[in-house]
């Protein structure tokens, strides 16, 4: 087993928002290893520290202690693709759709002609069809989030981090996106860290589901999902899937009563 992402002994406290001199412990000695190319999902109680964990891996916030290494590099030096829950506030509405996807290429200083060519090729490779010249606010929610995913992936990041990316989408669109993200994952071979607030989604997508405890988040249990890919939403009705879901639900239930 390779150790592509190593999260070791990570602790993080925040100042309490209401009582200024109290600190809230969000992570305490969190340790996890992720394999290269793995699709890992996180599921846990509200406000348990999932987003904090992702933000640390993505280098958005620093740890108090412990270390994170992505392919041997600290987050500040690794290439991160991040997909946020709120796609509207994450896209740049003053840029056309294709310019949104090409953003990171532009930041890297690649010429306009080349980056547009690259972006078109990349979108074709991902099988993402989006009107180039219109603006994000003219697209549906699902298309906007696809734009964000393409933007995060185009510069070939070391890891794709997704923080409840399909939360704001309706049921039908979510079903489509769950299939699409697997498709994209298979095509790109990326390592994905995915936080979900929907247990079924977390299990459906994952190679491994990390079930977390209440704050400070610890690993309660890691479940493996060995169903063949791509998994359509039909899998949800499968008996083995049902057993996996029940197991996860029991664990979650226990976590909540702790």
């Amino acid at each position: 087993m390779n150790e592509y992402i190593k999260i070791e002994n990570v602790s993080k406290t925040f100042l309490n928002a209401t009582e200024k001199n109290r600190r809230v412990e969000v992570l305490n000695g969190f340790t996890l290893t992720v394999h290269k190319g793995e699709f890992l999902t996180f599921f846990g109680p509200n406000a348990c520290g999932k987003t904090t964990l992702l933000s640390i891996v993505a280098g958005l916030i620093l740890t108090n202690s412990g270390s994170v290494l992505i392919d041997g590099k600290p987050p500040s030096q690794a290439k991160i693709g991040f997909v946020f829950q709120n796609y509207q506030n994450s896209l740049l509405p003053w840029r056309t759709n294709i310019d949104n996807v090409a953003l990171s290429l532009e930041l890297e200083g690649i010429s306009k002609k080349q980056r547009l060519g690259n972006t078109r090729d990349f979108l074709r490779k991902l099988d993402v069809e989006i009107p180039e010249g219109s603006y994000p606010y003219q697209l549906s929610g699902g298309q906007q989030q696809l734009l964000c995913i393409a933007r995060a992936l185009i510069s070939d990041p070391d890891v794709l981090v997704m923080d409840e990316p399909f939360n704001q989408l309706d049921f039908q669109t979510r079903m489509g996106m769950n299939e699409k993200i697997q498709d994209i994952w298979i095509k790109t071979g990326k390592t994905i860290l995915f936080v979900s607030h929907d247990l079924e989604e977390a299990i459906l997508l994952a190679d491994r589901v990390v079930l977390l405890t209440k704050r400070p988040a610890r690993i309660s249990k890691i479940l493996e999902n060995k169903f063949s890919r791509p998994r359509k939403s039909r899998v949800l009705q499968n008996e083995d899937f049902f057993k996996l879901r029940s197991e996860a639900l029991n664990i979650f239930d226990k976590v909540l009563r702790e």
Binding site: G59, L60, F82, F84, N89, W94, L107, Y135, Y137
Partner: protein
């Protein structure tokens, strides 16, 4: 555009015609609409008003440009840093709260009777609103977009030019739109109070002094149209250039 938009203005004009033709209001307060229209025509046909119009326009627009040129960068700078913002907050709020006209004597002392004082007043009027809107424009930059910039490892300059500045544009444009109106008001007022040879404010004031009501009303209408049209044109430009605002 909705058809109803015309109803208000038409009613107002009918009211004007009724009030004057039925002799409800004396001509010394409100002259008949036809004579004001005739006066408007005369003012433009004789070229008489052009000097005043030009002077007011010149003071207004130069002042506006100066106000925007100072207000946008300073405001954005303030919005960028919480420390700078906090340390200057009271000062900005205080100056913003001073009724601008109370500063006329100060401008008079500093810049004299000429155009410089009036241009400065126009600039002041625009500056206040533009600065504050630029400041809040930056402060209200979407947190998520800044995180996007961070995950994509954008440099500070890239973060500014590609994320913060465009994100602030809708608010900046809103501030400029208010500034346009306010600086016109202040320029016209300064022309009335501070004395000048040419200017719409001066002409209105002089016409009122000798009870030339036709000329007074005609010039008020010109000043009003100036304010109204400038605002409408800017709004048109704004909704096209900043197409994403509110979306």
């Amino acid at each position: 555009m909705k058809k109803e938009i015309i109803i208000g203005p038409v009613l107002l004009l009918i009211l004007w015609v009724l009030l004057t033709s039925l002799h409800i209001v004396k001509p010394i307060f409100l002259p008949p609409i036809w004579s004001v229209i005739a006066e408007l025509y005369k003012l433009f046909a004789s070229g008489n008003i052009l000097g005043d119009l030009g002077s007011t326009l010149m003071r207004w627009i130069i002042g506006l440009i100066i106000g925007v040129a100072i207000g946008v960068p300073v405001g954005m700078f303030m919005g960028y840093s919480d420390k700078i913002y906090s340390s200057l907050e009271i000062i900005v709020d205080f100056f913003r709260s001073i009724p601008a006209m109370t500063l006329f004597p100060l401008f008079l002392v500093f810049f004299g009777l000429g155009d410089r004082a009036k241009i400065s007043i126009s600039a002041w009027g625009a500056l206040l609103y533009v600065l504050v809107s630029a400041m809040y424009g930056v402060k209200h930059s979407r947190e998520t977009r800044l995180m996007v910039a961070k995950t994509l490892k954008a440099t500070p300059i890239q973060t500014f030019t590609k994320f913060v500045f465009p994100d602030a544009l809708p608010e900046i444009a809103g501030g400029i739109r208010v500034g346009i109106s306010l600086s016109l008001i202040l320029v016209v007022a300064s022309e009335m109070i501070m004395g000048t040879r040419l200017g719409l404010g001066k002409r209105i004031f002089d016409a009122a002094l000798i009870y030339n009501m036709n000329e007074m009303y005609a010039t008020i209408i010109i000043a009003g149209l100036l304010g109204y049209l400038s605002n409408k044109f800017f709004l048109l430009f704004e909704t096209r250039a900043i197409h994403w605002a509110g979306k």
